[in-house]
Point group: C2
Chain length 362, copies 2
């Protein structure tokens, strides 16, 4: 028998958890009890930072959803319907979006007054199963991209066993449901470089960063969708590749890197989306002066955001604290593209090797 791949194993685990959930409902009914479900509480009081996991996690507080409680029967029913619906999605190997779920409910006379309500129930099911919605085939619309010497093998219907070399399309290979669930077969890469901006991702491909630095390139397209964060983690953990993150030099770019490394409070009920060993490789606040980069003044909103980050336990280490201080002292920000001031290839020829040297020694 063929060994089960990572993607298949995850699906099997979700199905197992869904089955347990269903069985608990049947068991209650058989024993003439009102079925109920316990979910981890997602209230602010129950969200805490775990130093060991280096991410936010939920504490021990639980909330009960009971079919006995007239106020809860609506959300209880919605949750059970959703569990039924995503089980069918997985079995039929179809994918879906948050928006689709909202409309699909109407076919079953399940009432959601708007998408906010259905999105909330999807998060409830995530908490109940401790699995991300991507694991039950609910994907976002946004797509980021990947490029580099990595061969993958698909597991989606119609493509099982087919392979793709991720250098086969020089605009980058889209990260959608098929790529997210593919198995990694072979790579000659020695690192992963995640890049915030599409323009720079294209530049890196043109300048052959994948060959010169033996790197797999990932375009996060701003704050990466969770499927991209999950993919970065897999590249790090399954292939043992270090991950370096390049963003703009501003609080928002910094935070893109931090969410890849340590996750978000919103996803405290989930595991496997963070890459704790990934490194923020710039553009740092200190690079703006060091490289005399064209820059803009920080806005009031930027400064307010930096003060928030200062209070955030994820930012409680030397590099991050120092860079926040430099931002606040100089009140400057700069974009990745600012290096074009020294010619389009400077960032690859000069900045990238210098910075990788520094970051590796951190």
């Amino acid at each position: 028998m063929k060994k089960m791949g990572v993607a298949e194993e995850r699906k099997a685990e979700v199905l197992r958890k869904l089955k347990e959930l269903g069985e608990s409902i049947y068991y209650a009914l058989q024993n003439r009890k009102f079925p109920e479900i316990y979910l981890p509480s997602r209230s602010v009081k129950n969200i805490m930072y775990d130093q060991e996991l280096r991410q936010y996690v939920l504490g021990p507080a639980k909330v009960r959803r009971s079919s006995h409680n007239i106020k809860q029967i609506r959300t209880f029913t919605q949750l059970i319907w959703l569990a039924f619906f995503v089980k069918r999605l997985i079995k039929e190997r179809k994918t879906s979006t948050l928006r689709d779920i909202f409309y699909s409910a109407q076919a079953f006379n399940i009432d959601f007054k708007d998408q906010d309500e259905s999105d909330k129930i999807i998060t409830d099911l995530e908490s109940a199963l401790m699995k991300a919605r991507e694991d039950f085939n609910v994907f976002p619309e946004e797509r980021s991209a990947i490029f580099g010497e990595l061969i993958i093998e698909y597991t989606v219907p119609g493509y099982e066993g087919k392979r793709l070399d991720l250098t086969s399309h020089p605009d980058g290979v889209m990260i959608g449901p098929a790529l997210t669930t593919a198995e990694f077969i072979d790579t000659s890469a020695e690192m992963v470089i995640a890049i915030e901006k599409g323009g720079l991702f294209t530049r890196f491909i043109e300048e052959k960063v994948h060959k010169r630095f033996k790197a797999i390139l990932v375009n996060t397209a701003g704050q990466p969708p969770r499927s991209t964060r999950y993919l970065l983690r897999r590249l790090n953990q399954e292939l043992g590749l270090p991950v370096y993150i390049f963003t703009d030099a501003d609080p928002w770019g910094m935070h893109i890197a931090m969410v890849i490394i340590s996750g978000s409070a919103n996803a405290a009920h989930l595991r496997d989306l963070t890459t704790p060993d990934a490194k923020w490789a710039g553009v740092w606040a200190s690079d703006i002066n060091k490289y005399r980069l064209p820059h803009d003044k920080l806005t009031d909103i930027d400064i307010k955001r930096l003060h928030e980050l200062k209070m955030d336990p994820r930012y409680n280490s030397k590099l991050w604290r120092d860079e926040i201080e430099i931002f606040l002292r100089h009140k400057k920000k700069a974009e990745q593209e600012a290096f074009a001031r020294y010619g389009l290839t400077y960032i690859v020829d000069k900045y990238l090797p210098e910075k990788l040297e520094i970051v590796k020694s951190l």
Copy 2:
């Protein structure tokens, strides 16, 4: 000698036009005259709708940029620098973004006070050459995607002569500089279906619309970037394939279809971005009642927009006028995903074949 492909021919033409521009400057200098350039005026008075081309075009009015005029010497210099810079981009076969151009200027001590100013000069050069910035290797960051039975051959450095089958990645193949400049080699497709939303694009791939309807699928990702509009035109004109556009049933979805068909006033100085024979295949206002779709009320902004569209010469034909009237009468809008109310595959199994039948006969 190998026959020149469409993409290569376009590059050669841009280089020829850049050379003419340069020669006119040298000629003036040699004759001890102040160099000057004439550009078509892009003022509202000079933008008119051309019934034959079925797009907005610029009228005969010209504006002069002269190095003799102290007020114009700044923009004149910026324009000449840009022409020099993009010639180098093309020769070195590098691509760039609007943002890159802004920063690159600083390496040459060319001053742009912000990106708005550099963007304006890029549009000036487009008008001077009557070519889109993509033709001189300045690409946007946004990426849409394509999927279907079409084999392309790359022309970008390092990939010359390599081919890709556009069914090779089931998440869709990204439309970036490499795809935009590729040659079409072979297809078994009989139509092109452009889709506004990423989620539905993935659904269409999963439901094998490319096989069942022999269709090439294009995800426009909202209002498509110009390189995607140009690609749709090429699929229509080079391969002779009809193009059908599926959008949300609201004024914004309608206008996505219209811009693919007839272009925008902003691009009145350009050709080759429109597909006049493409058809808007829904979701129509009339479909909301016909299919009893879940819907929302039109907002005041939606209604204001519909009144604007009514006055727009591009909307001056029966289908469009009727649908605008129905929107205004029923005051309802609906999304493509609303069909999920009848199950996730209803849109492909029922709506799509019915609608294609109707649209083909229009």
